[in-house]
Symmetry: D2
């Protein structure tokens, strides 16, 4: 930790800061510059906090110099982590495209979707049984019945399933239905009680980025899961909120190389929610894979026009298949497979 | 709902849209402009959704023309709602300043804080027993014990208590401790399961704005609570996330006149979390009351330097008392009391 | 300047950084922490740049510890600067409200506006002869003729005039018309050639904040003017761009206390452009003065409905007069006059 | 244009709006819904403005239904425009990578850079003679001498040159040096006088997106150039400003498919300024081409560590060459060449 003293600091004020650092069990380095005096606290930084010093007289500001995430950091684990989902690797050389509808509607719809997802070459399937909706008056998902429908449809094609958990009280039900990958949605990225609970189990978790979460907050949210013992975490970028109104969100591809540097965990992208329109999905999906993402969450519906939610962002089965071909080509150019 | 057809739309495409509107039980108005044809769907708009039309051939875009919130809207309830908290009105002529520390620490600290809050002229007290923290390695609050400590301290001075509920499983405990006002924090503004639960009880709820929530999303989140039957909702602005890094968040005072127009419910402001520094609080608090806010949530700690969290944003007791005097003057200038 | 070395830095890499600092004429302090080694460069920081070090092997990142603005900083000039505009002080105890229409339209309109602005108690007048408009197909201002009309109308009521300069080639014309305060608009905050030119003259300059300019960039833009010799600079906040779409921009009142700490120069606020609607102006104007702003730029039009631009954000003369009364009350509460 | 009347509108208020529309030479369509009455103005929408109606009693809000840009719109010109720069096409099947240093430093540096840019396979070269810098105390570019140095270096390798124009008074000098492509920088995207001037000449213009400019504002800025007669406009995305601080800006790849739909003009991307670090450039460059960009502006310096500005974002010659190989592969996968 570094404490920058203000211009007219007194020796007494410096002494007080030095004493506080020493009382907290750290050593001190003082650098007397021409404009500012900088005090360094030497020792385990995670035990200190800028708040401890910012209120002291004579302190201009203080800051950590090391990132506060540990288990999820690349610094703590140099090699890429590859997460195994029923034999399918996420985060390795092979790119994974997770396809499926926004929401579980009927057994027929899910059976058809599963068949089409598998036919397109996807190895995992997505679908929502519990839907977070802005309005209380719109369709909120099929609920527990939806989990059963999804499980049945996906099993026929040996597709592990990915579905969103919103309510901590539903975790047992998810485990009973043997959900393969639990998705934490963008609105719950900092629902810390939920993060702690999925940190206690051993299922892979897709942690979507909050709509305006910084990279650092996102990594700290993952640290909540990891601190509980569950290191099977997959980051999923899904567009961030900005000033732009011409599209729903702005897909932040820069987060891919940055996360790859900061963490050993896999990073995937959801191009469907980012843009919010099906016609934007192929361009965004290509950009994601080209940028180095380990996979995608892509919405596909057997008949997008009749989807019960987010109808205008789902690809149809033919579009998904075509996209898979292009993505395969891009993956190979950068030394990966699909 | 209005559906704007694209430039080269065919009569068949228009016919399909007209048929869909009629099938959904609405009437149709067609306006043939020089550049675009606009189709109006006449009837209960809440039964329609832009997604239903945006995927149809020949449709450029479609939009609601009426806001989607109902119970919380000023349109449904012209008079200001005044919420009663154990005899103290929020949302009426009298402005309420809710003071207290960031977090419950010890019985001594809370006893002292309660005495000081009351002495400064505040009629309600705030304090956190459960703290949402960015890092899993920092103090997470005293938990259930904290509720007891808080209750005991506040009762001595007849101060109703305001405290944050993060986990739906804790609601019963909050009711057992007879928490007077339940606060839903910024990270949980769209934790819909939590909103539904507090919608089922009758306690006043302070709904903080999400860090990057639009006014419309915030009103819809309140609608989740209201739809369950609980109309005792107080909006609390606490700073929004922008590009600016010189302060923690940007306090959005414009939301005050705008919410006052859109909803009949009270609007308060938290100047402490907005700026993140105690020295900014007086200016922001004055701006909030001058803009027409119905109250404030202000952090005060008996000894800010030793606060266990957010130390640099708490006022000390003397600063709070001085601020109350200034706010009283401003309130009177605009025809209110404090 | 502080250079934070990466975890696995070698002694050779440290040596190279030390040598570079010494070659640039600075002294060195090395602080060897448990996780990171931090190198301090001691001397005139403005001669160093993070870029000089960030590309060197073994460097994690580097940063200035002192702000880069000088002349405009409070650190260089402790007392508040009061700017004199033909005898009217801006930045002192007295708050100044600068009223007038968005744009100069006709002599009649400006004569009437000047009379009403003076009658309301304003001591300066605003009006645009050159208008920056998003579309090339809308009214672009009366141009040079507008300056003459404005000058004539304002002189009758002894009101100094404030008007926007967009094109560096028009500066001489502004001087010929003896414009009292030159306004640099939000879109030109970083038009550095324009800033340099107004830095060479001695007229007061209102520097509006760029739509997404940070406080630091804004202060640096002012430093461009000040570096040329013109220290008569007034900062004007006019709303920033965020994700919110319910109003045009978000008025950032937090910038008032923060600028007051960082700079000795006056700070005013434009509540009209911020919200974009006349009905929001009173609440925002009150908040601005309560927060400590030294004045306001407020739009008033003799007949808002017929204004040639921004019709929906102008107050009418009666509304302006009423607002002045309220603002006077608030100013007095916080120890100022109006 | 559509005018939505408020809930309790009177017939007189409707009549006034109808009369105003008719007086302005338009026809009227009235749609009486269950909750709102919507009035359509039929005729040339560009002659109307929401401001004309928003101030009228009984009007809730009004809006254009057609986009306000014309010449640059895809609607006015269905085919892709291909811009010819001394025989090199921008916007066609072939992707163009424009390489070169941030700033012109010396003849030796530029000669070497030109040779390396050509050797890597780039067909155009970039370099700044006038540099917009946040601080007035940093290197501001070599100025006019820099243009001569650049011209001489590039001519040896038959590379057309791209360089930034900041000051309208320098346009003649740019023409004298026969600059092949004039770049308008991000800070000047809405410097309307500068846009008008480059609209009067016939040189290709690269129009960089403002740091927080919406797609719509950007297209309108291009319309300023086009309205003057110069249709040789190339859009360049270079990262937008958001809340994220882990990288300089967020590269907005979504703008590529969206602009391709809205305009017939070419779209290129600057991955160097977006991320601000050389190690991010390859991932962003790949994403840009994969998303469908027509080209890139990439910084390369013969010796990045010694660059006079933006040292940490320039690739070295070897990195540029490697990147060109990967981009060629991606271009071919999506049916283009490089």
């Amino acid at each position: 930790m570094i404490i920058i003293m203000s211009k007219d600091v007194s020796e007494d004020q410096i002494g007080a800061v030095v004493k506080k650092i020493q009382d907290l069990g750290h050593e001190v380095n003082i650098s007397r510059g021409t404009k500012r005096i900088v005090i360094g606290a030497i020792g385990d930084e995670s035990k200190l906090d800028p708040e401890l010093f910012d209120t002291m007289p004579g302190v201009e500001y203080s800051m950590h110099i090391v990132k506060q995430y540990k288990i999820v950091s690349r610094e703590s684990h140099r090699q890429d982590s590859v997460i195994d989902v029923r034999g399918i690797p996420i985060g390795g050389k092979q790119v994974q495209i997770i396809g499926g509808p926004c929401s579980v509607e009927t057994q027929e719809q899910m059976d058809l979707a599963a068949q089409q997802v598998a036919a397109a070459g996807c190895r995992l399937m997505r679908g929502g049984a519990f839907k977070p909706r802005t309005s209380p008056y719109t369709f909120q998902g099929k609920g527990v019945d939806g989990l059963g429908i999804f499980r049945k449809a996906a099993d026929k094609y040996h597709l592990p399933i990915v579905t969103e958990l919103m309510d901590v009280r539903m975790l047992d039900t998810f485990l009973e239905h043997d959900v393969d990958v639990i998705q934490i949605g963008t609105r719950n990225m900092q629902n810390f009680d939920l993060l702690k609970e999925v940190g206690r189990i051993n299922k892979p978790v897709i942690l979507k980025r909050g709509l305006s979460a910084t990279i650092s907050e996102w990594l700290m949210a993952a640290e909540y899961i990891a601190a509980g013992g569950n290191h099977n975490i997959i980051f999923c970028e899904r567009g961030i909120r900005t000033f732009e109104t011409a599209y729903r969100n702005v897909l932040d591809v820069t987060c891919v190389p940055v996360l790859k540097r900061e963490t050993h965990l896999p990073v995937i992208i959801d191009p469907s929610h980012a843009g919010g329109k099906a016609w934007m999905v192929p361009a965004l999906a290509r950009a994601a894979i080209a940028a180095g993402a380990d996979g995608l969450l892509v919405e596909m519906h057997p008949n997008p026009c009749e989807a019960w939610c987010d109808a205008d962002q789902a690809l149809n089965p033919i579009e998904l298949k075509e996209l898979m071909g292009t993505l395969k080509g891009i993956a190979e150019i950068i030394g990966r497979t699909l």
